[in-house]
Subunit: 315 residues, 2 copies
């Protein structure tokens, strides 16, 4: 059970190591959508995504006697760089298991923070086996990308800051993959602004959260979307929080994600990654639900392969 005090402590703990990211607005998008939108820009966060927060909080919570053996995880995405950075800040090693198909730019980011990469086949099984082996050899502490209470408490600081800067929001929208950001958001809203509703955006081709809320148990993701940060299924730590505190999941197609991403690039002149555009795509899809309201949208990250994204725009 993650308490209000846990969230406050987590935020204080990581503050010196993260950016307090700006909240941007756009008159043009407000006019287009009929609501007042507040975009919390985690694309400007350290390592280019909110993941810097959770990894930092978790790293700072590892007991000193365990810390010297290093931190470990498997990740093909932003958590990999975030953990490598956190490990370098607390002065220990980071062992990152990455599928050999992970983008070069993500591998470079890990190496740039001094992390050690272990490449494996791009299957969950191969990743887990390689991680177990690495941990056995090194004695490193595993920091899971989302199914970890310290990580969830760290991610909660995004919504906490948003609510501090912009009070009286009617809705907060966040994307959902494994649910670290969404469960943290839901807890922050529950504790700090209980009348605000939390709604998730999810890709149609990875709509396991939508289905999990319907069936009442964790469903598996089909992992079929351009939103490459949202392909995982929920964990047993994130699902119960989401079940309790998230009002609704709105699913969107890849075409809707690309259109939403392009609108933000062109109108706001900021770069966001496909996964990051999902909550805004959800709002565009169900405009009438939000009309006339004050809506916070968490922009989760801005790490893109430019060639790939620009091709999405032209195809």
């Amino acid at each position: 059970m993650i308490s209000q005090e846990n969230l406050i402590q987590a935020h204080l703990r990581i503050k010196p190591f993260i950016h307090r990211t700006p909240v941007l607005t756009s008159e043009r998008i407000d006019k287009q959508t009929g609501c007042q939108l507040f975009f919390k820009c985690e694309n400007f966060q350290k390592v280019g995504a909110f993941k810097a927060r959770g990894a930092m909080n978790a790293a700072l919570q590892v007991l000193h006697k365990n810390l010297e053996n290093g931190l470990a995880t498997h990740s093909s995405g932003n958590h990999a760089a975030a953990l490598a950075r956190a490990a370098s800040i607390v002065g220990t090693s980071a062992y990152i298991v990455m599928p050999r198909t992970a983008p070069e730019i993500k591998k470079k980011a890990v190496l740039g923070y001094g992390g050690k990469i272990f490449e494996c086949e791009p299957t969950l099984k191969a990743r887990e086996e390689m991680l177990a082996e690495v941990i056995k050899k090194t004695g490193a502490t595993e920091i899971h990308p989302f199914n970890n209470e310290h990580v969830i408490a760290g991610q909660a600081s995004v919504a906490k800051e948003l609510l501090e800067d912009i009070p009286k929001l009617d809705f907060v929208l966040a994307p959902v993959g494994g649910g670290g950001l969404l469960s943290g958001t839901a807890l922050a809203v529950h504790y700090f602004s209980p009348t605000t509703q939390v709604i998730a955006g999810e890709p149609e081709g990875a709509d396991d959260t939508y289905r999990s809320l319907q069936s009442g148990k964790i469903e598996l993701s089909q992992a079929n979307s351009i939103a490459d940060g949202l392909l995982t299924s929920l964990g047993d730590k994130t699902f119960p929080i989401i079940q309790q505190h998230v009002k609704e999941v709105i699913t969107v197609s890849d075409a809707e994600i690309i259109q939403a991403m392009r609108t933000i690039w062109e109108t706001m002149k900021i770069i966001i990654e496909p996964s990051c555009a999902v909550p805004f795509a959800a709002l565009l899809k169900q405009k009438e639900k939000f009309a006339g309201n004050r809506v916070g949208i968490i922009l989760s990250g801005g790490n893109v392969d430019l060639e790939k994204v620009l091709k999405l725009f032209t195809s």
Copy 2:
């Protein structure tokens, strides 16, 4: 002669109608360049570029008896949308002569602000003839994109804000096309931070300012660069100010511009147009000149055709 008082009054006059744009920093770019950089983000300005300032100031200075006949200009770029917006704010018509080859997105922006477009052949002669005809018919007041003291005083507010937010800069870098932004920047620095040096970035394929400072007279631009906002030659109002107050012009190739633009997109997660990347490209080219210094860089705008940029990044 544009006085310090003119700049102060211009800034007060336009303040209600423009954004005070943020100044962003990047630890990663500071490390890469060895200096402390402060990016003044006019890509987040109304109409997506600093041009909103000068057009607004000029529109607010037109005598009431002349105002009802409308405002007119020829422009294929950001000044067109800026003037259409300014005219709609002061409650008059905007007559914009545009070459028929101007990008659709720019035409749309003008129409979106209620401007009337007159298409002509894409030559300076055709543009000037068509503008003269429109003015003869309508009695509209011409607002030149840069060779106009009210426009220059308006553009000066960019550097004025930058110097207010970030004192004690050693250098301010701005791009130069017709010289509206550069001469305004030079005046603001001269009046408000006289020990700061102003340096211009200019495309090699449109290096008329570089040559003009050498020869002591206005040279014509070859107009051959991807920096499509910087292809014009100086005017008789901008050249003398630049001659007196700009320390140096650094020229850069298109390849250097593309590389600088890409670094800003990927590292800072913001969208800037090719012209806007020119001063940063100039700094990267002559790093040693700026090492250890506090440098302000004016990011002039963010209006890009995404398909076109993709081609630049992949070719």
